[in-house]
């Protein structure tokens, strides 16, 4: 792959001065690929954690205990009404300063890396939105449909797994798509705690090589691509799972 594109971009640089160094310099290419990999992993784990938190939170919101409901409620408000960047800094610097480190033979490394803190922070931030989405999805399953299941002898658990959950998930999906795409964009903030994802890597590349416009273009294209792919995949899932006859 690299051998294939390298001559073209080297030529492009020599002819026009457009310096897409990540496509012809092996070292920079390695950085670039590592950046993509970290960035995609960051997106994947953040979205996953936010979904898990969303599901658990939605369950708790429907629980009988007012204390639990209050806690989840407070969590949602706290994380929705404060800047995600300060949340990230708080997790990484303030809480990170008090997590133990391990001796890696000569140097110490905190148990929780900046990458993991970013995942935790974005997961919790995105989760605050997902709780509401899943809860609304559960609430939107009509009581009467559940009654029908009950009168057909479904037990509570059978109703939950065969009727409530499949319906709630489908109902939630469009709202979820929006939120997950937003969260994927937000992960670029990991730059501030030096997680070597795309924004951070290209920043280093353009500082080293003074080719800001070219790398900026690349960064733009990268996010457009990632956001488009994610949205396309989720929309495809939506279309596959749409309740026939109840489509948009």
């Amino acid at each position: 792959m690299f051998e294939l594109i390298a001559p073209f971009f080297r030529h492009l640089y020599e002819r026009t001065g457009l310096n897409f160094i990540v496509f012809y310099d092996p070292h920079e290419f390695g950085r670039f690929v590592a950046g993509i990999s970290i960035s995609l992993q960051l997106i994947f784990w953040s979205l996953l954690l936010s979904l898990v938190i969303g599901v658990v939170g939605a369950w708790t919101q429907r629980s009988q205990s007012a204390i639990w409901r209050g806690c989840v409620h407070a969590y949602i408000q706290a994380f929705r009404n404060t800047p995600p960047m300060i949340q990230l800094l708080f997790f990484y610097f303030a809480l990170g300063a008090f997590t133990p480190s391990v001796d890696m033979g000569g140097y110490t490394q905190p148990i929780i890396s900046s990458f993991v803190w970013a995942v935790i922070s974005f997961g919790i931030f995105g989760g605050a939105f997902n709780v509401e989405i899943f809860r609304a999805g559960l609430d939107a399953v009509p009581e009467s449909t559940l009654e029908a299941a009950e009168s057909l002898c479904f037990s509570r658990w059978q109703t939950y797994t065969n009727v409530t959950l499949p319906l709630a998930f489908r109902i939630s999906l469009p709202a979820l798509t929006n939120n997950l795409v937003s969260l994927a964009k937000t992960t670029s903030l990991a730059y501030v705690i030096a997680v070597p994802e795309m924004t951070y890597v290209l920043n280093q590349v353009w500082s080293d090589n003074i080719n800001v416009p070219e790398m900026m273009l690349l960064l733009f294209l990268y996010y457009v691509l990632v956001v488009t792919l994610l949205a396309t995949a989720l929309h495809a899932l939506e279309r596959r799972l749409v309740l026939p006859g109840y489509g948009q």
Partner: protein, 280 residues
Amino acid sequence: MTKRAFRLETEQFSQERFFCRFVDWRVGAGLLVAFALSMAMASAQGAAQQAAPSPLATLVIWMPFILKGFALNLVISFLAMAIATVLGIGLGLMQISLIWLVRAPSRFVTHLLRNSPWLVILFVIMLLLPVDIRLPGNQRVMFPDWIKVTIAFALPVMGNISEILRGAVNSIPTGQWESAEGLAFTRSQALRWIILPQCIRRAIPPWMNWYALLTLSTPMASIFSIHEAVSNAQAGMEAAGARPGLLIPFYLFLLCLFFIYIYPIAVWTRKLERKYAVGS
């Protein structure tokens, strides 16, 4: 069963409409108490270890400095919102133009501005906008960093306001256009006197919502060493000896600061939204 069943109003839940259904001042107050308690606890822990002024005392010393930074956050947010509103309405009107050559590019720009991460837009503006521009009369207009960052923050919001306008205009029933046409209004007259006045009510809650989101994004300015609340807080911690004990109180204070400012806006927006929902 109606065709509306089994569906959610998607917009209600996106991050772009982050006020959830139960904004309630009591929750806000409770959270503030929790913030304050954890801040006090964290600094009490730090105080036991050190002879230097306790973290809380340090925070009090630096508080005016941080608040001065926060004032800049607010100034940036006001200005950016003003720019975004004016330009966003322009872009939105272009989006509903009947002329394809106007409509298509404005749609593309709107789409681009809405779908790029804020941080990327910030980098583009901060690094690619020149420090000054020369006007014909050999006059120079300077672009200090904080002006640049204000422009950068205005851009994504502008895209979204453009989209709010388009959505609001589209949500007006076609009967309104038709009856205006029947009364011999031209398209622009109908827009000016019939359609847009009806849009304002619908557009105000999302507009406030975007203001809140914009304000919550202003800490990103600290990446470009603009002396707003976060950079000032970090500078303060540095100057006070960069003790780890300071981290929790300082960052919690920042979170509180934004929370105190944003939460009432959230409550207010929610109230307006409910009022308008009943009205329509």
